[in-house]
Symmetry: C2
């Protein structure tokens, strides 16, 4: 543990035991000295009751910035308790993209109310961005870019900036457009500073590929990552400038993407609140458990088909979970590899055959090794050589099935527009359970009893 | 699928069928028109043989940039085939931090050879950064920051920059230091442009908290994320300026972190190559399968203790996997939630009690619901009411155990400095299997036979 984490944990512990009536002024001060994102972290790490108490300790002028940094689930609960005028005030103090993030979580009529409480300019600015889906370039962009014309001299730009006095947050480029607002290129601040003042904007601007407004956020993130961009212009289909996306907003998309696969594979939602109300959490998980219960009963039904065989040789009941579980483990290795490859765009039907060849080869080697091992263990444990052979054979069948399913299932699910991370594991386990039990008990029925 | 992905898949397909002797010039051109990071993606998406073929098509001056973008595993294979002089040439053309990334993958003696082939200035620059561990602020930083003194007027800075002509990549701030190179603050390019030229650097610089050089990369990433930073200064323990970290390098850390938990939970390494050589891949996975096999046999041994009971009532063998698998599913939901919480710093012993209370409450609700459901199913299936009751009771025991273990196991593993994502699932499954089988078969032994 580092010093910072220690300090944080210490504060967290104090806040959990916060007396209901009145917090010591020192604690209130300590909280408001934190960065808004750190306050947001504290809120997320506390259960509902204490969360309310801590919220009351936050300085009103920090509230907006804190709200921008908390998770969706925590935020929407908080927003619904605020008056529209208060919300409008908070939203006006934020960058467009941050304000939009806040408003997107509200019910439609409330958004309208908040917009009505704003001045016309802010309202127009927000309404533009709100009209694009949250998970596209349009939903990520800021509309506060400073534009310049190509024929202007740098000297003029410099004078203009000095009069203006302040640039929108995270401005690293001015954006060059023609008289119709068509995007032409980017003018890095660096070039204004380092190039001779008599040159024109058009001479020193750089060529940055613009992002069309309907591009999915996922692809915008990959583009920023791959090209190490700090910002990029957003245009409509005709090439007119609409806004700009900055890297800090893309970082949020990347962070969410990383969590997405992990959480989905356990049937969870990445935006879930750690301290979600118990009933809500129980309801969501009940669905997941129900789906998995259904697959468990499919497996049980398969076993039931071999009731007579098992009753003649109980050793089968003892060993059968080994076959199924090894299939599940091996399959989820391939599955995870493919799910990540799909998320990064590295796996598709185009290279599926090469990948199948590799995964099957790996699987054959491991199948042979572990079939031998489990076969020997079964032989010595139950002093029954044919039982060992049958167990080994079932293991080989199931590990090959696992490799094949681990690759095929996510590809097919993706084709069907179903999230492979969410459904892949359930389908895979069903396959490896059914094949594992059938192979082992079936072979046993033929050769052993 | 978007248009871009389609184009990419199309190219990927062509490259897989590349004739060995000679690629068509059109294909060579198409590849070299891509961004280096896109070429890197192509390489990662191809198996070994075709990867070599595509590598031969890449323009030599693009090679360095492509290497910076490929995964560690792919890169090191490629680097070892290059001559030290060639490597030195490639490394000199890159930013310090990118060059360091390349060299860190090489064996020590080769690094020395490469450094010897460089000019003194480049060598000194690289050696500084190489002396810090890869996963700390020092390993992430660039040493090419432009420094200015606080007492200088902006006008002078402006003239200096114009003479200099070009700034290091991703420069959004100059760094303000005193005569002893102690860090004082940051001077955003924006302020040079917008503030009156007669003001001094000290008057318009901003206060940015510096990062100490030994700070873990993980914490640097959280800081950049939380505070929406584009760059930050790096200092030693005494406060002397050593370099700067830019957001693009931090994005890489964030991307890796997202993959880390996902891949570790399946016993994979995030830096694994999708088309790793078969034998190498088989060896790594064999270890993981072996560990899981051991736990499967622990479960089998538990079942074996109840051989006599099962032989009297084969329905037990049919239903027992249901208890174990539901425990595993419920447990891994809590486990995943906690593993992510630990990675983000939201879960610690400080709020473990509150979280335990919530997870146990959720678990009790679900345990009661599903115990009732499975109990009824078992009753109707086998026409045996006591069997249904025993199954339901075992389910309740195992779901509560799952919630408790899902929370406790990762916290304890973390305390023992073992990666909870890697080992958590194995330990959890062992616990839910053992408890599930023992509860169900044990209760059956007492009440049913």
């Amino acid at each position: 543990m580092t010093e910072d984490q220690d300090k944080y944990d210490n504060l967290l512990e104090q806040l959990q035991e916060l007396p209901e009536e009145k917090a010591p002024p020192a604690l209130r001060e300590e909280i408001n000295r934190l960065h808004p994102s750190e306050i947001a972290d504290l809120l997320e790490s506390l259960p509902g009751k204490q969360r309310d108490n801590v919220w009351d300790l936050i300085d009103p002028e920090l509230e907006g910035d804190v709200l921008v940094h908390v998770q969706d689930a925590v935020r929407s609960g908080r927003l619904e308790q605020m008056a529209p005028e208060k919300l409008a005030e908070v939203a006006e103090a934020l960058d467009t993209d941050d304000a939009v993030d806040l408003l997107q979580d509200l019910p439609e009529p409330m958004v309208d109310e908040v917009l009505q409480s704003m001045d016309a300019q802010n309202r127009a600015r927000l309404a533009t961005v709100l009209s694009y889906p949250e998970d596209t370039a349009g939903g990520l962009m800021n509309v506060d870019a400073i534009t310049v014309r190509a024929e202007v001299e740098l000297d003029v730009v410099l004078r203009y900036l000095r009069v203006r006095g302040e640039l929108p947050e995270k401005t690293d480029n001015l954006i060059v457009v023609d008289r119709n607002n068509s995007y032409l290129g980017m003018l890095p601040l660096e070039n204004i500073l380092t190039q001779p003042p008599e040159r024109t904007v058009g001479e020193v601007m750089i060529d940055v590929e613009p992002i069309t407004v309907d591009r999915p956020a996922r692809e915008v993130a990959i583009m920023f990552e791959q090209r190490d961009l700090l910002s990029a212009p957003v245009v409509d289909a005709a090439g007119s400038l609409l806004g700009r996306i900055t890297v800090d907003d893309v970082v949020d998309v990347i962070v969410d993407r990383g969590d997405q696969s992990l959480m989905s594979m356990a049937g969870l939602d990445p935006s879930d609140d750690l301290f979600e109300p118990v009933l809500e959490s129980a309801r969501r998980r009940a669905i997941w458990l129900g789906v998995n219960l259904a697959t468990a009963f499919v497996a049980a039904w398969v076993i039931g088909r071999f009731e007579a065989t098992i009753s003649q040789l109980v050793a089968l009941a003892i060993l059968m979970p080994v076959v199924a579980s090894m299939g599940g483990i091996a399959g989820s290795q391939t599955l995870t590899l493919v799910i990540r490859g799909l998320a990064l765009g590295h796996v598709s039907f185009a290279n599926a055959r090469s990948l199948l060849y590799k995964e099957l080869s790996v699987s054959i080697i491991n199948a042979c090794i572990w079939a031998l091992v489990v076969g020997c263990i079964a032989y010595f444990w139950f002093d029954n050589a044919p039982l060992g052979v049958v167990l080994g054979m079932a293991m080989i069948v199931n590990l090959l099935t696992a490799a094949l399913s681990g690759l095929a299932i996510p590809l097919v699910l993706k084709q069907l527009q179903i999230d492979p991370a969410l459904a892949g594991g359930v389908v895979l386990t069903t396959v490896t359970d059914v094949v594992g039990f059938t192979a082992f008990l079936g072979l046993a029925t033929i050769f052993l009893v």
